[in-house]
Protein backbone atom coordinates (compact mmCIF):
# COMPACT_ATOMS: atom_id res chain seq x y z
CA UNK A 1 0.00 0.00 0.00
CA UNK A 2 2.71 2.36 0.98
CA UNK A 3 4.78 1.42 -2.06
CA UNK A 4 1.81 2.06 -4.37
CA UNK A 5 1.12 5.50 -2.93
CA UNK A 6 4.71 6.43 -3.19
CA UNK A 7 4.78 5.39 -6.86
CA UNK A 8 1.69 7.43 -7.66
CA UNK A 9 3.26 10.40 -5.95
CA UNK A 10 6.44 10.01 -7.97
CA UNK A 11 4.49 9.74 -11.22
CA UNK A 12 2.38 12.78 -10.39
CA UNK A 13 5.43 14.76 -9.54
CA UNK A 14 7.20 13.69 -12.75
CA UNK A 15 4.28 14.67 -14.94
CA UNK A 16 4.03 18.03 -13.20
CA UNK A 17 7.72 18.67 -13.88
CA UNK A 18 7.19 17.71 -17.50
CA UNK A 19 4.28 20.14 -17.85
CA UNK A 20 6.34 22.90 -16.26
CA UNK A 21 9.26 22.16 -18.54
CA UNK A 22 7.03 22.35 -21.62
CA UNK A 23 5.46 25.57 -20.38
CA UNK A 24 8.86 27.12 -19.83
CA UNK A 25 9.88 26.14 -23.37
CA UNK A 26 6.90 28.04 -24.73
CA UNK A 27 7.36 31.04 -22.48
CA UNK A 28 11.13 31.51 -22.66
CA UNK A 29 11.89 31.93 -26.36
CA UNK A 30 14.15 34.89 -25.75
CA UNK A 31 13.57 38.51 -26.69
CA UNK A 32 10.98 39.12 -29.41
CA UNK A 33 12.21 38.69 -32.98
CA UNK A 34 12.67 42.21 -34.30
CA UNK A 35 13.82 41.37 -37.81
CA UNK A 36 10.39 41.05 -39.50
CA UNK A 37 10.00 44.84 -39.19
CA UNK A 38 12.81 45.26 -41.70
CA UNK A 39 10.78 44.08 -44.70
CA UNK A 40 12.90 42.78 -47.56
CA UNK A 41 16.25 43.36 -45.83
CA UNK A 42 18.87 40.69 -46.50
CA UNK A 43 21.02 39.67 -43.57
CA UNK A 44 23.32 37.79 -45.97
CA UNK A 45 23.98 40.98 -47.89
CA UNK A 46 24.53 42.79 -44.59
CA UNK A 47 27.16 40.22 -43.71
CA UNK A 48 28.95 41.01 -46.99
CA UNK A 49 28.60 44.76 -46.41
CA UNK A 50 30.24 44.78 -42.98
CA UNK A 51 33.34 43.35 -44.65
CA UNK A 52 33.23 45.56 -47.74
CA UNK A 53 32.54 48.79 -45.85
CA UNK A 54 35.33 48.06 -43.41
CA UNK A 55 33.22 47.67 -40.22
CA UNK A 56 35.44 44.65 -39.51
CA UNK A 57 38.41 46.99 -38.96
CA UNK A 58 37.00 47.90 -35.53
CA UNK A 59 34.40 45.25 -34.66
CA UNK A 60 34.45 41.48 -34.21
CA UNK A 61 31.63 39.51 -35.81
CA UNK A 62 30.94 35.86 -35.01
CA UNK A 63 30.99 34.67 -38.62
CA UNK A 64 33.80 36.83 -39.98
CA UNK A 65 37.11 35.04 -39.46
CA UNK A 66 39.22 38.04 -40.32
CA UNK A 67 39.80 40.86 -39.57
CA UNK A 68 38.59 40.81 -35.98
CA UNK A 69 38.95 44.49 -35.17
CA UNK A 70 39.53 45.27 -31.52
CA UNK A 71 39.11 49.03 -31.23
CA UNK A 72 35.30 49.05 -31.09
CA UNK A 73 33.04 46.74 -29.06
CA UNK A 74 32.64 43.15 -30.17
CA UNK A 75 29.33 42.53 -31.93
CA UNK A 76 29.32 38.77 -31.31
CA UNK A 77 25.87 38.73 -29.64
CA UNK A 78 24.61 42.07 -30.82
CA UNK A 79 21.09 40.80 -31.58
CA UNK A 80 20.61 40.02 -27.87
CA UNK A 81 21.84 43.39 -26.68
CA UNK A 82 19.31 45.77 -25.18
CA UNK A 83 21.22 48.93 -25.96
CA UNK A 84 23.23 50.36 -28.84
CA UNK A 85 26.46 52.02 -27.69
CA UNK A 86 25.22 51.60 -24.13
CA UNK A 87 22.56 54.28 -24.39
CA UNK A 88 20.13 53.89 -27.30
CA UNK A 89 17.39 51.25 -27.47
CA UNK A 90 18.40 48.42 -29.79
CA UNK A 91 15.52 48.70 -32.25
CA UNK A 92 15.67 48.39 -36.03
CA UNK A 93 14.75 52.03 -36.70
CA UNK A 94 17.34 53.41 -34.29
CA UNK A 95 19.99 50.94 -35.42
CA UNK A 96 19.47 51.87 -39.07
CA UNK A 97 20.16 55.50 -38.19
CA UNK A 98 23.09 54.58 -35.99
CA UNK A 99 25.01 52.45 -38.52
CA UNK A 100 24.86 55.32 -40.99
CA UNK A 101 25.42 58.29 -38.73
CA UNK A 102 26.68 57.29 -35.32
CA UNK A 103 28.12 60.72 -34.36
CA UNK A 104 24.67 62.32 -34.78
CA UNK A 105 23.10 59.93 -32.25
CA UNK A 106 26.06 59.49 -29.90
CA UNK A 107 28.19 62.65 -29.96
CA UNK A 108 31.82 61.98 -29.16
CA UNK A 109 31.87 58.42 -30.49
CA UNK A 110 34.91 57.27 -32.45
CA UNK A 111 32.59 55.61 -34.97
CA UNK A 112 32.34 57.80 -38.05
CA UNK A 113 29.36 58.32 -40.33
CA UNK A 114 29.34 55.63 -43.02
CA UNK A 115 28.26 56.11 -46.63
CA UNK A 116 25.35 53.71 -47.15
CA UNK A 117 22.13 53.61 -49.14
CA UNK A 118 18.81 53.02 -47.37
CA UNK A 119 18.78 49.42 -48.54
CA UNK A 120 22.36 48.85 -47.38
CA UNK A 121 21.57 50.28 -43.93
CA UNK A 122 18.51 47.99 -43.75
CA UNK A 123 20.60 44.95 -44.72
CA UNK A 124 23.32 45.73 -42.18
CA UNK A 125 20.65 46.25 -39.50
CA UNK A 126 19.03 42.91 -40.32
CA UNK A 127 22.43 41.23 -40.13
CA UNK A 128 23.35 42.85 -36.80
CA UNK A 129 20.01 41.87 -35.23
CA UNK A 130 20.52 38.29 -36.41
CA UNK A 131 23.72 37.96 -34.33
CA UNK A 132 22.67 35.77 -31.41
CA UNK A 133 24.51 33.08 -29.51
CA UNK A 134 23.71 29.61 -30.80
Amino acid sequence: MLACTSRTWVLARASRTLVLACASLVACDGPPDRTPMLGDASAANGRRLVADKGCVACHTFPDVKWPRGGLGPSLQDFGRQGLIAGRLPNQPGVLMQFVRNAPALVPGTAMPAMLMTDQEARDVTAYLLSLKPR
Binding site: D52, K53, G54, A57, C58, K65, W66, P67, G69, M111
Partner: protein, 327 residues
Protein backbone atom coordinates in the same frame (compact mmCIF):
# COMPACT_ATOMS: atom_id res chain seq x y z
CA UNK B 1 45.19 35.59 -30.85
CA UNK B 2 44.68 33.38 -33.89
CA UNK B 3 46.63 34.38 -36.95
CA UNK B 4 44.55 35.46 -39.91
CA UNK B 5 44.69 33.12 -42.85
CA UNK B 6 42.59 34.81 -45.45
CA UNK B 7 40.90 38.07 -46.25
CA UNK B 8 38.06 39.50 -48.23
CA UNK B 9 39.58 42.56 -49.80
CA UNK B 10 41.27 43.95 -52.86
CA UNK B 11 43.91 41.37 -52.02
CA UNK B 12 41.41 38.51 -52.09
CA UNK B 13 40.05 39.79 -55.38
CA UNK B 14 43.57 39.58 -56.79
CA UNK B 15 43.83 35.92 -55.97
CA UNK B 16 40.32 34.50 -56.28
CA UNK B 17 37.46 34.61 -58.76
CA UNK B 18 36.79 32.94 -62.08
CA UNK B 19 38.84 32.55 -64.23
CA UNK B 20 41.59 32.36 -61.61
CA UNK B 21 43.75 35.51 -61.99
CA UNK B 22 46.81 33.37 -62.60
CA UNK B 23 45.13 32.00 -65.76
CA UNK B 24 43.66 35.38 -66.76
CA UNK B 25 46.61 37.41 -68.12
CA UNK B 26 46.22 41.14 -68.75
CA UNK B 27 49.67 41.78 -70.23
CA UNK B 28 52.41 40.17 -72.31
CA UNK B 29 54.53 38.98 -69.38
CA UNK B 30 51.72 37.28 -67.51
CA UNK B 31 50.65 35.86 -70.86
CA UNK B 32 53.98 34.02 -71.06
CA UNK B 33 53.40 32.48 -67.65
CA UNK B 34 49.88 31.42 -68.58
CA UNK B 35 51.02 29.86 -71.88
CA UNK B 36 53.68 27.91 -70.03
CA UNK B 37 51.09 26.75 -67.50
CA UNK B 38 48.65 25.53 -70.17
CA UNK B 39 51.38 23.67 -72.09
CA UNK B 40 52.46 21.94 -68.88
CA UNK B 41 48.87 21.07 -67.97
CA UNK B 42 48.28 19.61 -71.47
CA UNK B 43 51.51 17.61 -71.33
CA UNK B 44 50.77 16.29 -67.86
CA UNK B 45 47.29 15.21 -68.96
CA UNK B 46 48.72 13.38 -71.98
CA UNK B 47 51.30 11.55 -69.89
CA UNK B 48 48.69 10.64 -67.28
CA UNK B 49 46.45 9.11 -69.97
CA UNK B 50 49.39 7.15 -71.44
CA UNK B 51 50.38 5.78 -68.03
CA UNK B 52 46.77 4.78 -67.31
CA UNK B 53 46.59 2.99 -70.69
CA UNK B 54 49.84 1.14 -69.98
CA UNK B 55 48.55 0.16 -66.56
CA UNK B 56 45.35 -1.17 -68.09
CA UNK B 57 47.34 -3.25 -70.60
CA UNK B 58 49.57 -4.59 -67.83
CA UNK B 59 46.55 -5.69 -65.79
CA UNK B 60 43.99 -6.79 -68.34
CA UNK B 61 45.76 -6.92 -71.74
CA UNK B 62 46.38 -10.06 -73.81
CA UNK B 63 49.58 -12.02 -73.17
CA UNK B 64 51.04 -10.76 -76.44
CA UNK B 65 50.51 -7.07 -75.52
CA UNK B 66 51.83 -7.59 -72.02
CA UNK B 67 54.96 -9.23 -73.37
CA UNK B 68 55.55 -6.21 -75.62
CA UNK B 69 54.99 -3.78 -72.76
CA UNK B 70 57.49 -5.66 -70.59
CA UNK B 71 60.17 -5.68 -73.28
CA UNK B 72 63.55 -4.07 -72.87
CA UNK B 73 63.05 -1.56 -75.68
CA UNK B 74 59.90 -0.12 -74.04
CA UNK B 75 61.84 0.50 -70.84
CA UNK B 76 64.72 2.04 -72.78
CA UNK B 77 62.53 4.34 -74.83
CA UNK B 78 59.70 5.29 -72.51
CA UNK B 79 61.63 5.00 -69.29
CA UNK B 80 64.69 6.95 -70.38
CA UNK B 81 64.98 8.48 -73.83
CA UNK B 82 61.50 10.02 -74.24
CA UNK B 83 61.29 11.52 -70.70
CA UNK B 84 64.82 12.93 -70.95
CA UNK B 85 64.07 14.40 -74.38
CA UNK B 86 60.75 15.91 -73.30
CA UNK B 87 62.28 17.44 -70.19
CA UNK B 88 65.22 18.84 -72.14
CA UNK B 89 62.96 20.40 -74.78
CA UNK B 90 60.74 21.85 -72.05
CA UNK B 91 63.74 23.34 -70.30
CA UNK B 92 65.08 24.91 -73.48
CA UNK B 93 61.67 26.28 -74.49
CA UNK B 94 60.79 27.50 -71.00
CA UNK B 95 64.13 29.25 -70.50
CA UNK B 96 63.93 31.14 -73.80
CA UNK B 97 60.36 32.11 -73.11
CA UNK B 98 61.01 33.35 -69.59
CA UNK B 99 64.24 35.16 -70.55
CA UNK B 100 62.13 37.92 -72.17
CA UNK B 101 60.46 38.58 -68.84
CA UNK B 102 63.60 39.97 -67.26
CA UNK B 103 65.61 41.30 -70.24
CA UNK B 104 65.96 45.10 -70.10
CA UNK B 105 65.60 47.00 -73.37
CA UNK B 106 65.92 50.56 -72.10
CA UNK B 107 62.54 52.06 -72.95
CA UNK B 108 60.86 50.75 -69.83
CA UNK B 109 59.58 52.73 -66.89
CA UNK B 110 61.82 52.07 -63.90
CA UNK B 111 60.63 51.45 -60.37
CA UNK B 112 61.93 49.91 -57.20
CA UNK B 113 59.88 48.02 -54.64
CA UNK B 114 61.31 47.07 -51.25
CA UNK B 115 59.69 44.34 -49.23
CA UNK B 116 59.17 45.12 -45.54
CA UNK B 117 57.37 43.25 -42.80
CA UNK B 118 54.37 43.54 -43.92
CA UNK B 119 54.24 46.33 -46.48
CA UNK B 120 55.94 47.57 -49.64
CA UNK B 121 58.13 50.66 -50.11
CA UNK B 122 57.58 51.93 -53.65
CA UNK B 123 60.02 54.21 -55.51
CA UNK B 124 59.69 55.72 -58.95
CA UNK B 125 63.11 55.99 -60.60
CA UNK B 126 64.50 58.13 -63.41
CA UNK B 127 66.49 56.59 -66.28
CA UNK B 128 69.64 56.70 -64.16
CA UNK B 129 68.05 54.76 -61.33
CA UNK B 130 67.66 57.76 -58.98
CA UNK B 131 64.50 57.99 -56.89
CA UNK B 132 62.16 60.75 -58.06
CA UNK B 133 59.07 59.87 -56.06
CA UNK B 134 58.36 57.76 -52.99
CA UNK B 135 55.13 56.01 -52.08
CA UNK B 136 53.94 52.80 -50.46
CA UNK B 137 51.70 49.81 -51.14
CA UNK B 138 50.42 51.14 -54.46
CA UNK B 139 52.06 51.22 -57.90
CA UNK B 140 50.79 53.46 -60.67
CA UNK B 141 51.84 52.40 -64.15
CA UNK B 142 51.01 53.46 -67.71
CA UNK B 143 49.10 51.04 -69.95
CA UNK B 144 51.07 49.40 -72.78
CA UNK B 145 54.54 50.24 -71.50
CA UNK B 146 56.76 47.68 -69.81
CA UNK B 147 57.81 48.49 -66.26
CA UNK B 148 61.06 47.17 -64.85
CA UNK B 149 60.79 46.75 -61.11
CA UNK B 150 63.96 46.38 -59.05
CA UNK B 151 63.16 44.02 -56.21
CA UNK B 152 64.93 44.46 -52.90
CA UNK B 153 64.16 43.51 -49.32
CA UNK B 154 64.83 45.37 -46.10
CA UNK B 155 64.37 42.43 -43.74
CA UNK B 156 63.40 38.87 -44.74
CA UNK B 157 62.66 37.22 -48.08
CA UNK B 158 59.42 38.40 -49.69
CA UNK B 159 58.05 37.72 -53.14
CA UNK B 160 56.37 40.22 -55.42
CA UNK B 161 53.44 38.87 -57.39
CA UNK B 162 50.71 40.47 -59.50
CA UNK B 163 49.14 37.39 -61.11
CA UNK B 164 47.41 39.29 -63.92
CA UNK B 165 50.43 41.40 -64.93
CA UNK B 166 53.57 39.35 -64.62
CA UNK B 167 55.56 36.58 -63.05
CA UNK B 168 56.57 36.14 -59.46
CA UNK B 169 59.94 37.38 -58.19
CA UNK B 170 61.63 36.88 -54.84
CA UNK B 171 62.98 39.84 -52.90
CA UNK B 172 66.16 38.70 -51.23
CA UNK B 173 68.05 40.80 -48.67
CA UNK B 174 71.32 42.12 -50.08
CA UNK B 175 70.39 41.39 -53.67
CA UNK B 176 68.53 43.16 -56.46
CA UNK B 177 66.26 41.05 -58.64
CA UNK B 178 64.35 42.40 -61.57
CA UNK B 179 60.91 41.69 -62.92
CA UNK B 180 58.95 43.21 -65.79
CA UNK B 181 55.28 44.08 -65.58
CA UNK B 182 52.92 45.36 -68.20
CA UNK B 183 49.20 46.02 -68.29
CA UNK B 184 47.33 46.07 -71.59
CA UNK B 185 44.18 47.53 -70.11
CA UNK B 186 43.56 50.32 -67.63
CA UNK B 187 42.34 49.07 -64.29
CA UNK B 188 43.23 48.08 -60.77
CA UNK B 189 45.14 44.86 -60.23
CA UNK B 190 45.76 43.17 -56.92
CA UNK B 191 49.12 41.85 -55.79
CA UNK B 192 50.28 39.77 -52.88
CA UNK B 193 53.46 38.66 -51.15
CA UNK B 194 54.10 35.13 -52.38
CA UNK B 195 56.87 34.02 -50.04
CA UNK B 196 56.06 33.27 -46.41
CA UNK B 197 57.60 36.15 -44.47
CA UNK B 198 56.01 35.97 -41.03
CA UNK B 199 52.73 35.67 -39.15
CA UNK B 200 50.78 38.22 -41.18
CA UNK B 201 52.31 37.21 -44.52
CA UNK B 202 48.88 36.52 -46.00
CA UNK B 203 47.90 40.12 -45.18
CA UNK B 204 50.73 41.67 -47.18
CA UNK B 205 49.05 42.86 -50.33
CA UNK B 206 49.31 45.79 -52.67
CA UNK B 207 47.51 47.41 -55.56
CA UNK B 208 48.71 48.18 -59.09
CA UNK B 209 46.77 50.92 -60.85
CA UNK B 210 47.19 51.03 -64.64
CA UNK B 211 46.31 54.38 -66.25
CA UNK B 212 46.08 55.38 -69.91
CA UNK B 213 49.52 56.87 -70.77
CA UNK B 214 48.28 60.50 -70.87
CA UNK B 215 46.45 60.10 -67.55
CA UNK B 216 49.50 58.50 -66.03
CA UNK B 217 51.76 61.38 -67.14
CA UNK B 218 49.30 63.85 -65.63
CA UNK B 219 49.22 61.82 -62.42
CA UNK B 220 53.03 61.78 -62.22
CA UNK B 221 53.30 65.52 -62.93
CA UNK B 222 50.87 66.24 -60.08
CA UNK B 223 52.87 64.05 -57.74
CA UNK B 224 56.18 65.63 -58.71
CA UNK B 225 55.01 69.25 -58.39
CA UNK B 226 53.07 69.42 -55.16
CA UNK B 227 50.66 72.34 -55.15
CA UNK B 228 49.61 73.99 -51.91
CA UNK B 229 46.18 72.88 -50.72
CA UNK B 230 43.48 74.95 -52.38
CA UNK B 231 40.89 74.49 -49.67
CA UNK B 232 41.49 76.02 -46.25
CA UNK B 233 42.63 73.46 -43.71
CA UNK B 234 39.89 72.63 -41.22
CA UNK B 235 40.39 72.71 -37.45
CA UNK B 236 40.13 68.91 -37.21
CA UNK B 237 42.80 68.34 -39.87
CA UNK B 238 45.05 70.88 -38.19
CA UNK B 239 44.62 69.15 -34.82
CA UNK B 240 45.39 65.85 -36.56
CA UNK B 241 48.61 67.19 -38.01
CA UNK B 242 49.70 68.39 -34.55
CA UNK B 243 48.83 65.03 -33.01
CA UNK B 244 50.81 63.30 -35.75
CA UNK B 245 53.96 64.81 -34.25
CA UNK B 246 52.87 64.77 -30.58
CA UNK B 247 51.82 61.11 -30.52
CA UNK B 248 54.99 60.06 -32.28
CA UNK B 249 53.68 58.95 -35.69
CA UNK B 250 56.36 61.11 -37.31
CA UNK B 251 59.10 58.92 -35.86
CA UNK B 252 58.27 56.19 -38.39
CA UNK B 253 56.21 57.88 -41.07
CA UNK B 254 57.07 60.54 -43.59
CA UNK B 255 54.79 63.28 -44.85
CA UNK B 256 56.68 65.30 -47.46
CA UNK B 257 56.82 69.02 -46.76
CA UNK B 258 56.44 68.61 -42.99
CA UNK B 259 58.79 67.77 -40.14
CA UNK B 260 57.58 64.17 -40.28
CA UNK B 261 60.46 62.37 -41.98
CA UNK B 262 60.43 58.88 -40.45
CA UNK B 263 61.44 56.20 -42.90
CA UNK B 264 60.88 52.92 -41.10
CA UNK B 265 57.13 52.88 -41.85
CA UNK B 266 55.17 53.52 -45.04
CA UNK B 267 55.38 57.01 -46.59
CA UNK B 268 52.07 58.75 -45.83
CA UNK B 269 52.47 61.80 -48.09
CA UNK B 270 49.65 60.54 -50.34
CA UNK B 271 47.88 58.11 -48.02
CA UNK B 272 44.53 59.85 -48.53
CA UNK B 273 44.50 58.98 -52.22
CA UNK B 274 45.32 55.31 -51.76
CA UNK B 275 42.79 52.69 -52.68
CA UNK B 276 43.53 50.43 -49.78
CA UNK B 277 44.69 50.58 -46.18
CA UNK B 278 47.06 48.29 -44.32
CA UNK B 279 48.80 47.12 -47.53
CA UNK B 280 45.91 46.05 -49.72
CA UNK B 281 43.69 44.59 -47.02
CA UNK B 282 40.99 47.15 -46.16
CA UNK B 283 39.06 49.86 -47.98
CA UNK B 284 40.56 53.27 -47.19
CA UNK B 285 37.80 55.11 -45.30
CA UNK B 286 37.49 57.26 -42.19
CA UNK B 287 36.32 54.24 -40.23
CA UNK B 288 39.10 51.86 -41.26
CA UNK B 289 41.68 54.61 -40.69
CA UNK B 290 40.41 55.04 -37.13
CA UNK B 291 40.44 51.29 -36.57
CA UNK B 292 43.95 50.98 -37.95
CA UNK B 293 45.41 53.91 -35.98
CA UNK B 294 43.75 52.81 -32.73
CA UNK B 295 44.46 49.09 -32.92
CA UNK B 296 46.28 47.92 -36.03
CA UNK B 297 47.44 44.86 -34.10
CA UNK B 298 43.94 43.37 -34.10
CA UNK B 299 43.73 43.91 -37.85
CA UNK B 300 47.22 42.75 -38.81
CA UNK B 301 48.75 40.92 -35.83
CA UNK B 302 52.51 41.35 -35.36
CA UNK B 303 52.86 44.27 -37.74
CA UNK B 304 55.40 46.81 -36.52
CA UNK B 305 52.96 49.57 -35.65
CA UNK B 306 51.82 49.40 -32.01
CA UNK B 307 48.19 49.80 -30.98
CA UNK B 308 47.36 53.30 -29.74
CA UNK B 309 44.49 52.41 -27.41
CA UNK B 310 45.11 55.50 -25.30
CA UNK B 311 43.93 57.89 -28.02
CA UNK B 312 40.51 59.46 -27.42
CA UNK B 313 37.72 59.30 -29.98
CA UNK B 314 38.22 62.94 -30.99
CA UNK B 315 41.97 62.40 -31.39
CA UNK B 316 41.43 59.32 -33.54
CA UNK B 317 39.00 61.26 -35.69
CA UNK B 318 41.44 64.17 -36.03
CA UNK B 319 44.30 61.89 -37.05
CA UNK B 320 42.07 60.07 -39.54
CA UNK B 321 40.88 63.40 -40.94
CA UNK B 322 44.51 64.45 -41.38
CA UNK B 323 45.31 61.17 -43.17
CA UNK B 324 42.30 61.67 -45.44
CA UNK B 325 43.54 65.17 -46.32
CA UNK B 326 46.91 63.85 -47.54
CA UNK B 327 45.95 63.25 -51.15
Amino acid sequence: MSQPTSSRSSLAEALSGWPPPVLDPHGPFSNTVTTLAWVLIALVTLIFVLVCAALWVALYGSDELRAKLGGESVVKWFGLIVPAGVLFLLLAWGTTMVAGMTAIKGDELRMRVSGNIYWWRVSYLDAGGKEIHADANELHIPVGRPVVVDMVSEDVIHSFWVPKLGGKMDMIPGRTNRLKLQADKAGVYGGQCAEFCGGAHSLMGFVVVAHEPADWQRWLDTRLTPTPAAAPIGAEVLRGSQLFTEVGCAACHRVAGTTAQGLSGPDLTHVGSRRSLGAGILPNTRGTLIGWIGDSQSIKPSNRMPAYRSLQAAELNALAAYMESLK
